[in-house]
């Protein structure tokens, strides 16, 4: 039974994939996201110099990339002020952004969906109370909450190896999850509210199905499209947030190849000397966010019309 239902949802996605390809913008976006995902997964294999702090090159070499001749050269994006290959660092940076933004999105979508489905189906005062708490959380701007949380956690001193220390190391991940769980829950809740009044849910109640059955078997498949759209949207905001935190110096620490950090490190006097060391990571952020947005638009078009 489950396999059939899953295949049903999958079929909707396949249809949407078809719709994606018909829409050139979404196709380009999806392909670009896939490209970055490959970089994120296999960055260490793909980067010519897999150590992000590898300084075994001459410093401040200009890019050798020749797009016209399709020629990469020794240092396609040049080397930075410390003699690191910018091309490798940009490639390695994809991993860092996907690990935090992607994983954060995944966690928040899973947890937020479960919460939202429960709230939407349960209704009543529980829904009301959680809903108000979510409203309150959402009144605090994301970046502000992130900054405060990071600020606090960075100043706490934990024993190395303790779970608190592990938490502190992944504070950005934690922040993204905390920030987006309520947002996703809100979306899942309203989608659930829409579905729960449908008569097929009442039909399930009339045959005495359990709460869990109704939530996960009856309601969830219809909510999945909204959740997928929301997930893609969240992902683009998460990338934004991670890059911004990196840029403000609250994200990854040097010598991490974080794109936001790279932009910040090279924005002063070195912008004159090695503009490429700023321009390529900035470009990478912009291209990735545009790609995710294009993909997200495509998914929205495909899933919210059909299904």
């Amino acid at each position: 039974m489950r396999s059939v239902r899953v295949s049903r949802v999958y079929a909707a996605f396949k249809r949407s994939a078809g719709a994606q390809l018909r829409h050139p913008q979404s196709a380009v976006g999806t392909l670009a996201v896939a490209f970055f995902l490959v970089l994120a997964l296999f960055g260490a294999q793909l980067a010519p110099h897999p150590n992000p702090n590898d300084q075994s090159h001459a410093a401040r070499l200009p890019p050798t990339l020749d797009i016209g001749a399709l020629h990469l050269g020794e240092h396609p994006f040049g080397t930075d002020r410390l003699g690191r290959d910018v091309y490798s660092r940009v490639i390695l940076g994809a991993g860092s952004i996907f690990r935090i933004a992607g994983l954060g999105t995944l966690i928040s979508v899973l947890a937020g969906s479960a919460l939202g489905l429960f709230m939407g189906y349960q209704g009543g005062w529980i829904d009301e109370v959680i809903g108000r708490v979510i409203d309150a959380l959402l009144a605090i701007p994301a970046l502000l909450l992130a900054l405060v949380l990071v600020g606090i956690v960075r100043n706490l001193d934990f024993e190395a190896g303790s779970w608190q220390a592990a938490l502190a190391d992944n504070v950005i991940l934690l922040v993204i999850s905390l920030l987006y769980i309520p947002i996703v829950a809100r979306v899942a809740r309203s989608a659930t509210l829409d579905i729960r009044t449908r008569e097929f849910v009442e039909a399930a109640e009339v045959r005495g199905e359990s709460k869990a059955y109704i939530i996960f078997r009856e309601i969830l498949p219809s909510v999945v499209p909204s959740l997928v759209v929301e997930a893609s949207l969240r992902f683009s905001y998460a990338i934004f947030l991670v890059a911004s935190l990196g840029f403000l110096g609250f994200g990854a620490r040097p010598p991490s190849p974080d794109w936001g950090l790279m932009v910040n490190e090279n924005r002063g006097g070195f912008y004159q000397l090695t503009p490429w060391a700023l321009e390529f990571p900035a470009l990478a952020i912009a291209v990735l966010v545009i790609a995710v947005n294009l993909m997200s638009d495509g998914i929205r078009r495909a899933l919210q019309k059909g299904a």
Partner: protein, 326 residues
């Protein structure tokens, strides 16, 4: 109407209460001692920590702590600034809030009319060339993080292009830095405001215009548009009198929501342009471990956002007869 106001105010107070609890407990939930954090982490001596504990009333039970904290906040007693010795959090935040408000005001003044116009045009020409062009523009603009836009504006517009002979001869002045005096008057600040405001505008522009477009498209499909058109009144009148009235109403809420968004964006923009606003103050506060200052900034921000939402809802309700006020 009274009932609506009552509900709305109750909601406002409830949300405010919860937000303040959230901000308050941020410092409590996390493992570790807030007094130690404020005192400077592990370097702090036990006496220093104890002193701060006493000073902050951390020895009292949590509810009492919360009440006194809220009381102090409402009474304008926000404590001493740790990040800048000798300054008061209250004075500092009020001054910086004012500056941020100026920046936000300029950004809103620039972005709201422009994005409404773009959104309406895109909506009226759904899937036609103007719409596609506007959508591409807004999509690419919304995809650029504020710091990328900001750096681009500083390095390309202000420095490279602003120093060109053409720009010079036009007498334009492109501020490559907005590090104005914190206590400057609005008039003095204005020349330095427009470039960072423009950076904020770009992001808001995309956001508001996309929602406006969706609103126009949705309203155009409604039956009453046909009714109006079939009255034999000109199409222009149909759009102005009937469609826009309904399509632009939700924009009030959108703008209120985008204020919260704008605040996030301003943090980065103020930092990039060196503007003495609340956002750059927050970054300094956190860099310098001034958690009380950060807490107060968070409360001020939440207050602003909740009030903006409150006013937007009331304005929306007053302007929109469909909202049941009873």
């Amino acid at each position: 109407m009274l009932l609506f106001l009552r509900r709305r105010f109750l909601f406002f107070f409830f949300t405010y209460l919860l937000s303040s609890l959230t901000i308050f407990f941020l410092l409590r939930i996390l493992p570790g001692d807030p007094a130690r954090v404020i005192a400077g982490g592990r370097e702090a001596t036990a006496e220093q920590v104890a002193e701060i504990r006493a000073e902050l009333g951390l020895n009292a039970p949590l509810p009492a702590q919360y009440i006194s904290w809220v009381g102090n906040f409402l009474g304008g007693n926000w404590g001493d600034t740790i990040a800048f010795r000798g300054a008061q959090n209250y004075d500092l935040i009020i001054e910086r809030s004012l500056n941020s408000a100026r920046l936000a005001a300029v950004a809103l003044l620039m972005s709201v009319p422009l994005s409404l116009v773009l959104g309406v045009i895109a909506g009226l020409f759904e899937n036609k060339l103007p719409d596609i062009l506007i959508s591409l523009l807004t999509l690419s603009v919304v995809s650029l993080p504020e710091f990328v836009t900001g750096l681009f504006l500083i390095n390309i517009v202000a420095l490279r292009w602003g120093s060109s002979d053409l720009a010079q001869s036009l007498g334009w002045w492109f501020p490559s830095s907005s590090a104005v005096r914190a206590d400057a008057s609005f008039g003095e600040m204005l020349p330095a405001l427009w470039l960072p405001a423009f950076a904020a505008t770009l992001v808001m522009l995309a956001y508001i215009s996309r929602l406006t477009r969706a609103g126009v498209i949705e309203e155009l499909k409604r039956d009453y548009v046909r009714t109006a058109a079939l009255k034999g009144i000109p199409w222009r009148t149909v759009i102005w009198r009937h469609v826009l009235r309904n399509a632009l109403l939700p924009t009030i809420t959108v703008i209120a929501i985008s204020i919260s968004w704008l605040i996030s964006g301003l943090v980065v923009i103020e930092y990039v342009f060196g503007f003495p606003g609340l956002g750059s103050l927050l970054i300094t506060a956190i860099e310098r471990r001034d958690l009380l200052l950060a807490q107060a900034i968070a409360m001020v921000t939440v207050t602003v956002i909740l009030f903006a939402n409150l006013f937007a809802d009331i304005a929306y309700a007053l302007l929109n007869p469909r909202v049941e006020l009873a």
